[in-house]
Amino acid sequence: MKLKAVGFTIGAAFGFIIGWARLTDYDVVRDMLLLRHPDVFLLMMSAMVTAAIGARLLRALHVRSVLDATPIAWTTQPPQRKHVAGSVLFGIGWSLAGTCPGPVAAQLGRGQFAALFTIGGLLAGVFLHDRLRVRRKAQIPRTTGQQTTAVAGL
């Protein structure tokens, strides 16, 4: 319950900043991808640098998480073929829609209702992935490493 409240609150702050920085505007994203303005690249890089410093500080100081008192830690993955193939599809979709999973939700909140089409497609895409995987699993029984829920992140 507390985790959900934290999720909602951090999400709300994220959505507010996305809207405030106009990352919800098709033209802001388009001008970035057409390399006309560097500001969204700079925004992403400064976010990344801030997060990199903060996360390493938390780990170096052996800070424990507020909600469950676990030591702050994370795991990383080596790159695989699925990362490249998936990211190519993602990149095509991103440039066509002029938005991605975070900003499209903020678009909806701002009353840009074209976002409903994108969100519908996004959920259908996730569903399609799971259908394809279920079928693949059925064809090749007993594969190693049972992965049930892969949460986006790293």
Partner: protein, 158 residues
């Protein structure tokens, strides 16, 4: 304060604030930041009878609420179906918009699910945590999106 909120936030304010949210989520809940997971957990809850909705769909609900707040503190809430120069590039017919955006969303959902992350999950959080997979993903979707946007601009002439 009202004056600051009415105009667009500069990158050097919005960027570090988003970075701080990544750190805050790590500190409070020890969870990696990322938007795509909210859609994945929602889909699992609807289509695969996942028992608990999870916190990530609530994160996305928060993003919707935050977007609404950002409209209220600047230009006001103005519902619209127009979508900037998308309407020039693809035309403003509603069915075209529905087909293009749904198809684009499908690629985002399918591709993001395959890659295990999106612009925030891999591009900001994963990169900051030094994940090699995230670096490959970010380089790949950035390069693909830039090439695709340039090709589209060249074809449409807009």
């Amino acid at each position: 304060m009202e004056g600051i909120l009415a105009t667009r936030a500069p990158w050097y304010i919005a960027g570090p604030l988003i970075g701080a949210l990544v750190v805050l989520l790590l500190w409070l809940a020890n969870k990696p930041f990322g938007a795509l997971g909210g859609y994945i957990e929602f889909e699992e809850w609807v289509a695969r009878s996942r028992r608990d909705l999870g916190w990530r769909p609530l994160f996305i609900a928060g993003v919707v609420a935050g977007g609404l707040l950002s409209a209220l503190t600047s230009t006001g809430w103005r519902p619209t179906l127009t979508y900037g120069s998308f309407d020039v590039v693809f035309g403003s017919a509603l069915w075209v918009k529905a087909v293009v955006l749904f198809s684009a969303g499908l690629l985002i959902g399918l591709g993001g699910r395959m890659a295990g992350g999106c612009t925030s999950g891999h591009g900001i959080c994963g990169m900051s945590l030094g994940s090699p997979a995230s670096m490959v993903c970010t380089a790949t979707f950035m390069a693909t999106a830039v090439m695709c946007a340039l090709a589209l601009a060249w074809m449409s002439g807009a």
